[in-house]
Symmetry: C3
Subunit: 266 residues, 3 copies
Amino acid sequence: MFGEALQRVRAQAPVVHNITNYVVMNTTANALLAVGASPVMAHAPREMEEMVGIASALVLNIGTLSDHWIEAMVVAGRAARRRGIPIVLDPVGAGATSYRTNTALRLLAEVSPTILRGNASEIRALGAQPGTEPGATRGVDSVHATEESLDAARALSAAHGCVVSVSGATDLIVAGEKVARVRNGVPVMARVTGMGCTASALTGAFAAVTASPFDAATQAMAVMGVAGEAAAQRAAGPGSFQIAILDALSALSPDDLQRGVRVEAE
Amino acid sequence: MFGEALQRVRAQAPVVHNITNYVVMNTTANALLAVGASPVMAHAPREMEEMVGIASALVLNIGTLSDHWIEAMVVAGRAARRRGIPIVLDPVGAGATSYRTNTALRLLAEVSPTILRGNASEIRALGAQPGTEPGATRGVDSVHATEESLDAARALSAAHGCVVSVSGATDLIVAGEKVARVRNGVPVMARVTGMGCTASALTGAFAAVTASPFDAATQAMAVMGVAGEAAAQRAAGPGSFQIAILDALSALSPDDLQRGVRVEAE
Amino acid sequence: MFGEALQRVRAQAPVVHNITNYVVMNTTANALLAVGASPVMAHAPREMEEMVGIASALVLNIGTLSDHWIEAMVVAGRAARRRGIPIVLDPVGAGATSYRTNTALRLLAEVSPTILRGNASEIRALGAQPGTEPGATRGVDSVHATEESLDAARALSAAHGCVVSVSGATDLIVAGEKVARVRNGVPVMARVTGMGCTASALTGAFAAVTASPFDAATQAMAVMGVAGEAAAQRAAGPGSFQIAILDALSALSPDDLQRGVRVEAE
């Protein structure tokens, strides 16, 4: 299943439209190219409808949000809904400020993303029950293990009818009662900016070519993890890792992926 | 001619003012530094006049355009016109949305760029005759060979009095009846984001130190191609290629350039 | 002292809030992660107060300024003042345009930064006495040696009660009558975009964990220089240097730092 999904990305080269943050635009565009997809970065409200019209997936990322960009995300999200293409939302920094938490909740409500992909602290912040305390976040880095976000992920999946994909040492993918855990990856990934954002972008690419969003989210995290393991073999630190994972995404064969995946589904 | 042009860039270190897209700002600034030029990135309308005043070339790139940025491009372009410094326009994604096509056409009309530098699909979209079909684009990646854009390039060159530089497996440079073809470069360049934008930035650097825009456009594509060939020798994939081409641009000697160039002029 | 400061950064992992330019966001975020800090990039005025509330230092950088971003810098700066966390200002391109010079002077007056960190041309432009000529700048690159900015740095330190940190072949750190000179570093750093901006970001990280801003500014320049020397051993040019310095920042041990530092204080 994993190897075939990677082959589909390369065969179809889906156009993935990203409205994402300034920090990771270059990295995520290159990761999409490396894995075989075709990235577009565009955010002017006046071209959203048309740009979404040529895309096979939409990725929304609030990492450096501002009001104009949120407007573009809403317009693009609605256009994607109408066209029926998958939407991935990365709620970067949800919980760190109410502006981010509220924007993520607004996008969940108005855009109805197919897949919500964040770290454990973000998912806890969004899935907190009224009157409970999600626990502190610390800027945009997670301070929770992914298992600590399982209840929140289930609640969000049920409330919004979306798949929830939580990255961490073990990635959690939740869809209703279904849970998959991806045990690939390496610790240095937490020391490189934009690895979570890259996972979100790849999730868009796999969602474009895979019918099940749950499977697509799992595939993307597996690809990130297996490529990360290969990259760590060649990297001398976080700088060279950031480059090596692009090489690894490009070099990854369907067979190597299939052999390397460590996924458990329940 | 090519080696001497590279020497001039390094001797004069021209200030190249870029109003460009978020995805490639770091890469293009580093490429300009590597080749020996001095990059400036600035877009506030209130400083355009003054910033253009210290620049030796202006590069306009609509890759992540929005209304405020277009305003800055028009102001900067007019100031560059008045000063008589060369202007390079990269119409990223023209044809993908009408906003992009119309913005590129507006900049062609109002700013009168010295050199229009794009991929084949973009040039076809801009040079299409009324009532004809330019052929689909696919996001920001070209789906046409450069030879398929020759008629459009000629039409644009005649209509706007500019040089048209089309990047691809073989680069085409067109000025009126003159055509040059640069046969350097490597396929991996299509797998790294911003290689076209980097070519546009370098075109600005060479236009700043070369009297003929046709020659400058040809020099820039030759430098990209020869440096790309050197970088490919050291790169394990698209990630390490993006880094290796910066090293190669810095290490490229005028003699190596002159020996490596494969250019045909008709 | 230097080794202990580095240990404190890694032990405390201070959240450093950056309002910085598009060109260097990725590089500076990765440099902060590599040294052991936790970067946040955010600029929406509506979240400034809250985001500053979770930060241990604020870094303001005007490299690609526009009116909305300046507004965010003022709001964030005032919030940081109220909270008593250190503020670093990088006046990128001051002197190149009056918009940049005036914005830097306005931020000096309204935000009262703890540390002003620029290159020699920028410091001269800001510290010029009325009626005197600071000397030309050339875009965003310095055309002066740091010693030529000593008088301006002293004047700015006295006028604004801040530490002034000037990067160059020899870095100058000035606080009132005190001067330190950091003689680490390598020439290739001038060929990579954003090295000054990275120094400013690291200055924020060290200011977050060191009581004396003068010491913190000196520590940050020493870390940049020693890591740069290590990186140059592994780099084949400016491209690979940009990556190698991230690896070096991550690998730098307190002992290696202490041994490698070449600092003179008067």
